[in-house]
Amino acid sequence: MSFCLVKSKQEEFLRKIKSRDIDINKLVEMTSAERREEFIKVLGFDEDTAKEVNALFESKLLLKYQKTGIKNWIQKVGGLKEDVKRDLLSRVDRMEKVLSQADEKMFLNDLAEKRLGIGVSEEEAKQIFDLSQTVEEKKALIKDDSPIRSKERLDYGTAYVQFQDYVKELKLDAEKMTIMDYIKKPQEILYDIGGATKSFLSTLDNSFFGRQGIKMLYTNPDIWAKDFLKSWGDIGKELKGKDAMIPIKADIFSRPNALNNKYQLTGVDVGITSEEAFPSSLPEKIPLLGRVFKGAQSAFNGAALRLRADLADRYIKQAEELGIDTLNKEQAQGIGNIVNSMTGRGSIGKAEPLGKEINSLIFSIKFLKSNIDTLTLHLFDPKATSFTKKKAATNLLKIIGAIAGILTTSELLNPGSVEKDPRNTNFGRLKVGDRYIDISGGMTSLITLASRLVPTKHNGQWGLWQQSATGKFTNLTAGKYGQTTALDVFENFWEGKLSPMAGLVRDLWKGENYNREKVNIKNSIQGLTTPISAQQFQQFMKDRETTPKIILYMILESLGLGVSYKQ
């Protein structure tokens, strides 16, 4: 110790304490300058001695009080996890000097943030910083002419995905609901259960390619085929316990169009956490079965991302060849919208902020919108550009041509197997055995709905006509007692699009479910948690289908080609 207090001064100090001229509580309350002043005034110290004594007072006594006070607060405060508490206590122990006013503000703010669960800790900030630096370093190594999926691109992509995953994890953690949160916001319970039931129903298949992605089969079969084959590898990886999504995302985020921000500008949905059919990852947590769920989920999400990125790359290139500036936001968004709609993710425009609420009501609103956009050639899409509309027209022609080709072949091989009247339930479907297969990814049901809701002629009579699967025509506006009306047709269409939870409410109101059974707890839980493919399997068994037919139907169903009820 370089400084010490001479005996006379020490005795003077002690005397002043006894006479209460010096009060410890007051000394603690004072600022450094005030304390120094006090030492000079009351104890008669010179300026240097006052400064030295004050410095020692702060480092030995004041620091001790500050530390004790903060520690007391940490011990007393509720809601802190043990590890957070330990971390804070060790931080306090590490304090070597008394906090200045500015430092105290920052330090106390940090503690308060920890207490409230906000703010980003130093460790988290460091991790974010380090990961972002790694991403930047790896990005710098990518040469302009580096081919996609080259080592340096994938290295960057992987670093980027790891970075994004870490950030996402922190954000999701922030959004995690506690019991108190659910009490405060009970609607969240509905959203979460709704999400989980949707995920349960969507799993155990590789249905994206035959449903949301089937438009790609008819318009860009090369991309479809390549990505379809890859999806099986993704399922295999997940079954083995490997993460299939990291390499998929690493590939996509390291492509030239990701690095030059064109994906971002187009708004093509390659950065989303999960598709609308898999809003919850709860099923993954089931022991053993979780891997199967994860496999189906990765195949679905991976398919969507790959198809979208591949198509976006193709359309961006084509647009640029036509002289379109793809860095122009309007042009880019036009491309993004058609790419999204071709891969089952239509834009719901101004309703986007209500996505969570709509999703709890409708199973796949974006998929439905994508079908509407495709059939209406994006005419009602406010962001559609001339390129979008031209592409939409070409795509629709290709889709109609391909489906017509399949159906014509079917009709030639098996006369009478194709229903040509759009007002018929089975219009545009492929007949296999006693059932009809939807090869349009749900688009024909929209045509049927529209055909029933606009005036058409039947037997020389105008009306809103509906034809049943058996061929019976009904005039929806005939006004007969108890008959199906146009409104019923419209309602039925939407009833079929409801989410599992909303569907349960529908069944409760109707008093029966789709199988015409009375709704009870058992069949409700079954209906909410049994994957659609498994439900279909049960139905085939119930219908006493032969084994080869069950196998065939299950293959079609698991590929997303919806198999109808027995006719």
Binding site: L5, L111, I128, F129, S150, A174
Partner: protein, 619 residues
């Protein structure tokens, strides 16, 4: 009847058949004929003749029993499989043979390298091999590999009295590399590898040791899987090398029996012999390897191509010099030989106090071999692998951070210059070393000098670029001159850092034309460049917690920002966390801070504490 005279005329004595013989013969013929036509398994005339020749019915039936002809449906599968197998086998052989034929001139050219087979021998061997593979149905498609392996063993291994050979570790390495080439396909037809593959193959064609071969793969080299099936090279009764294309691996069967030093080691530790095999295979094939043990077997799997492997022999440059190395006991001087491992990194080979060979980095004096080896080649390889594992660029950055002091650098420069001046033929390598050291010296100038330079704390140009990106779509900033803003902001940071901080945090408004957003952007750039996490956090807080401030609102309105920007990400997370807390976050935080201050105030302070304190500081 014949007379004696007639008999004598013939000159031969013929034993006349007795009537019984004749009878028996005729009876037998009749019986055989009857039997021949009554049986159904053998063609009657053939049966009769065979019977007459003395064969028994059982023998005939046994030997001539017609094959049972099963139904077409029963055999169609196996027939088709067999035919397909033959077809594929011939196809593999044809491909192998064709590539071998096409490779003949290359094999001949490569054989011009002294040693081993002559060009004529190599070409003849190549053509013979091609012919054998394609024409001879009885030889397997992998005859080439087998023959090369056997010839190699014959040339370089001692025969094992139990059969096969007594291979050395080097032999096993060579054969392992041969296995890797075969996993990759026909070596000469690896896409992108081209002549390099051929060069490595030549080592086998001329039966040379593979450890002398190196393979520098071009960027983007991709290998196409060859038409390979499993190949087994029998080295000795207890060692076999199995090449398994299905699992993309080479298994050295019985390896641990042959190399007991490996067997005694704990899991994860490699014996020097094993290390040599892996290193040799890695270097010869240009592929990184993973190694694992399964029982007594060593399994190697090539993973990814390694970059720019320099021939070891060419690595040694110039003579012995004095270097400084860092030890736990301090800095020591050692004699070492410069060895080039990667461009731009000054490395040298020397011995440590235990006599082990070590490769160290010259400017930092740090060991790159993790403790050294008893063989200099191992040390060089280990250093090479260590650098490659870190990544050359990253490694260079790391050594930059651990540079020697300025006087030490100056000393090195002087020494190098001295050498350069004395050189009769000026070595470019020495010149490059001088330049490198001088650059380092320049880079390690004391920071005080740097501070005086405008914009050194934060680069004005970088700030300007960021400002343009961020404000390009914001009409209110269109009029602002970004170059000027960047200059003003960097000036403020460099002249009054604390003030700049207050402005960036939204606590104070800047003066004149300077926009607070420009200061924020410049400060953000500085924080990222200097890796100042505290500043990053403070900047992030400046407009989440303090969002009620005017500055906070303005900065929040900043346009496009890099989505990977840590400041932005921290802000987003804080925003998400604050949203969850709900209500007025700032007020909640202030209330919590007051509670802490209250706790500090509540700590019992006694006069005894003060007395103790005085006692403690008394003289």
């Amino acid at each position: 009847m014949t007379t004696w005279a007639e008999f004598n005329k013939t000159g031969t004595i013929t034993k006349k058949k007795t009537a019984w013989d004749d009878f028996n013969s005729r009876m037998s013929k009749g019986a055989f004929e009857a039997e021949a036509y009554s049986q159904k398994s053998v063609e009657p005339v053939l049966f009769k003749n065979l019977r007459e020749a003395g064969n028994t019915t059982t023998t005939i039936n046994k030997n001539l029993e017609p094959e049972k002809t099963p139904g077409v449906l029963k055999t169609i599968g196996s027939s088709l499989l067999g035919a397909t197998g033959d077809l594929f086998n011939q196809m593999f052989k044809n491909i192998r043979g064709t590539t071998q034929t096409l490779a003949t001139p290359i094999a001949g050219t490569l054989a011009l390298v002294p040693g081993g087979a002559t060009p004529r021998e190599a070409m003849k061997e190549s053509l013979n091999m091609a012919k054998t593979v394609m024409m001879d149905k009885s030889v397997p498609f992998d005859i080439g590999v087998q023959t090369a392996a056997q010839q190699f063993l014959q040339k370089y291994s001692d025969p094992d009295p139990r059969g096969g050979y007594k291979p050395t570790i080097g032999n096993i390495s060579a054969l392992t590399a041969l296995g890797v080439f075969n996993l990759l396909g026909d070596p000469l037809f690896e896409f992108g590898a081209g002549l390099r593959g051929a060069k490595a193959l030549k080592e086998f064609a001329t039966f040379k040791k593979v450890r002398q071969a190196t393979k520098d793969l071009s960027e983007g080299t991709s290998f196409v899987k060859g038409t390979m099936r499993e190949v087994e090279i029998k080295v000795s009764p207890d060692v076999k090398i199995k090449i398994q294309p299905k699992t993309n691996s080479i298994t050295i069967k019985g390896y641990q029996r042959r190399v007991p030093s490996q067997k005694g080691l704990p899991e994860g530790k490699l014996a020097p012999e094993t290390n040599e095999i892996i290193m040799n295979a890695r270097e010869a094939t240009g592929m990184d390897m993973t190694a694992q043990f399964k029982g007594d077997d060593l399994i190697l799997q090539p993973t990814t191509p390694i970059k720019s492997v320099q021939p070891v022999a060419k690595g040694l440059v110039e003579g012995e010099r004095t270097y400084k190395i860092i030890k736990q006991t301090g800095i020591e001087e050692v004699k070492g030989t410069p060895v080039k491992i990667v461009d731009g990194v000054d490395t040298f080979l020397h011995k440590d106090e235990n006599g082990n060979w070590v490769v160290s980095e010259a400017t930092t004096g740090r060991d790159l071999t993790n403790g050294g080896f008893d063989n200099s080649t191992f040390a060089i390889r280990a250093a090479k692998v260590n650098i490659e594992n870190v990544g050359v660029d990253k490694f260079k950055k790391l050594i930059e951070e651990k540079q020697l002091t300025q006087p030490e650098l100056q000393e090195k420069i002087d020494t190098a210059k001295n050498i350069y001046e004395k050189q009769k033929i000026k070595e470019p390598a020495t010149k490059a070393r001088i330049d490198y050291l001088e650059q380092q010296l320049k880079d390690t100038q004391p920071p005080e000098i740097k501070k005086s330079t405008l914009g050194l704390k934060v680069k004005q140009k970088a700030v300007e670029e960021d400002l343009i990106t961020r404000f390009k779509n914001l009409p209110e900033y269109e009029v602002a001159n970004m170059q000027e803003q960047a200059k003003l902001a960097t000036d403020l940071i460099n002249s009054d850092f604390e003030k700049a901080k207050r402005v960036a945090f939204g606590e104070e408004m800047p003066e004149g034309k300077l926009l607070p957003e420009a200061v924020f952007t410049a400060m953000e750039k500085l924080a990222l460049r200097t890796k100042d996490i505290t500043l990053v956090r403070q900047l992030a807080k400046s407009h989440t917690v303090e969002q009620a401030t005017f500055m906070g609102q303005r900065i929040r309105a900043l346009g496009e920002r890099d989505p990977n920007n840590p400041v932005k990400i921290i802000q987003d997370i804080e925003k998400a966390r604050a949203k969850k807390v709900g209500g007025k976050v700032k007020e909640k935080l202030t209330a919590e801070q007051k509670k802490i201050q209250h706790e500090i105030k509540m700590v019992k302070k006694s006069e005894v504490d003060l007395e103790d304190f005085i006692d403690e500081i008394k003289c």
